[in-house]
């Protein structure tokens, strides 16, 4: 959003969005996670997983959700990773039963509810549509975007089970794009944990609270599904590059640069014209939504 402002105001001609990290081979990611709970570390409250587990447990109390919903997300995204040779979990298929048999880490999350810690990075260059037309790649443009950051106060938050910031950010983005969920061909959703995917799509309006279990079942988000989600494998199965995992995947899918996992006839899915993507921060405390299209 800042990049668009810088381009529109003429401050910049090209903006590089980049993320790179030695999260796996170094210890800085674990140090960051150990530090993020502040004095609540006194109680053994740890990292993002500890916070999202609290959110997911509250969601299980307020609506119909839990492992029977999340197993579809974990296994569906893993199937996409099977088509992506860059994915950390390439050729490591995950059945729904294997998901349910995996050990709890921070309950209600099992091992496969958690995203990866990765070495690597992603980058994306933004410019005006006018300039992009004269560049070698197909043009992908921003149809709509929105941002909503509900609260810095996690303890007293009333959004852990939704509506998260995705509700208002999504409304802003759909209003700007002048489309509805029915126009979306695929989604690239920030997926630090399986539950994040569920609550984000729920808040965008793809299904009503608690109806995710039905919506996700039957391979909805997997190759061949009616609404492909996180087609690189996402942060759960490809690699964790913060918001650039979903954003760059959306751009590459619309450009047609995704090889075996390319949306279209090869993966028995619709050739995408419009892809929605999300980013969120802290424990569902910040949210951004982008709707992109092939120009």
């Amino acid at each position: 959003m800042h990049a668009v402002c810088a381009l529109e105001s003429g401050l910049c001609r090209y903006v590089l969005l980049s993320y790179g990290h030695s999260g796996r081979s170094g210890d800085s990611m674990m140090r960051m996670l150990a530090g993020m709970t502040g004095n609540d570390a006194v109680y053994g409250h740890f990292g993002a997983a500890g916070g999202y587990a609290l959110a997911a447990q509250r969601a299980m109390h307020e609506m119909e959700t839990g492992p029977e919903t999340w197993k579809h997300i974990a296994s569906g995204q893993r199937a996409w990773a099977g088509l992506n040779p860059d994915a950390m979990l390439h050729k490591r298929p995950l059945s729904e039963q294997e998901y349910l048999d995996s050990p709890y880490m921070i309950e209600p999350f099992r091992l496969h509810d958690n995203c990866l810690v990765s070495d690597g990075g992603r980058a994306c260059i933004l410019t005006t549509t006018e300039r992009a037309r004269n560049l070698p790649h197909p043009v992908v443009s921003i149809m709509g975007m929105g941002q909503h950051n509900p609260s810095a106060d996690l303890l007293n938050a009333d959004f852990l089970a939704g509506a998260t910031g995705a509700r208002q950010a999504g409304e802003q983005a759909f209003a700007m794009a002048q489309i509805t969920t029915g126009d979306i061909d695929a989604c690239q959703i920030y997926d630090c944990f399986t539950y994040t995917v569920e609550v984000t799509l729920q808040d965008y309006g793809f299904f009503a609270p608690g109806e995710g279990r039905t919506w996700f079942s039957g391979g909805t988000i997997a190759p061949g599904g009616r609404m492909p989600v996180n087609t690189s494998g996402g942060q759960l199965a490809e690699a964790y590059y913060m918001g650039l995992t979903p954003l760059t995947e959306a751009v590459m899918q619309l450009m047609g640069r995704c090889g075996n996992r390319q949306l279209g006839p090869e993966t028995r899915t619709k050739t995408p014209g419009i892809i929605l993507c999300s980013d969120n921060g802290a424990i569902l405390q910040t949210h951004a939504c982008y709707i992109l299209r092939r120009y």
Binding site: D40, G50, L54, E107
Partner: protein, 134 residues
């Protein structure tokens, strides 16, 4: 006597909270203008932005808003504790606080469970407020 778990870092906002914990008295800031209790400690009332507040003992009673069960210890001090339960406790006076649920098997913990404060003396300076079924 130290039990090797992390200890709180004291700052100007939370100093009184932890001093009172040492006396086994759970104490929160209460806004002297609008009367609202607040947690975490802060120099402004999040409701009315007043700067004036009094540290006021609370009942130590509440209910579990949400919880998580750790099957892995991410800090060596908790290795012997797994599976242990972290919880957001909604205090009877309104604000919520992070804590642990003790004296209860993890599988019996649920959202809405009534709880009351109990204390763990971590060392000579710090006592940690924990909660058990009420």
């Amino acid at each position: 006597m130290t039990d090797s778990k992390p200890l709180p870092e004291i700052n100007a906002d939370n100093r009184v909270f932890w001093e009172k914990c040492r006396e086994h008295v759970l104490t929160l800031q209460k806004c002297t203008d609008c009367g609202e209790f607040r947690n975490p400690p802060a120099f402004l009332c999040p409701g009315c932005l007043s700067r004036s507040a009094e540290w006021t003992p609370v009942s130590g009673k509440g209910s579990i808003y949400t919880f998580a069960v750790y099957h892995t210890a991410f800090h060596p001090g908790f290795k012997e504790e797994v599976p242990y339960v972290t919880a957001v406790v909604a205090l009877a006076e309104g604000p919520r606080m992070m804590s642990n649920i003790v004296e209860c098997p993890p599988e019996n913990v649920f959202c809405g469970m009534p709880v009351e404060v109990t204390w763990r003396d971590a060392d000579d300076l710090f006592s940690i407020p924990l909660f058990r079924p009420a």
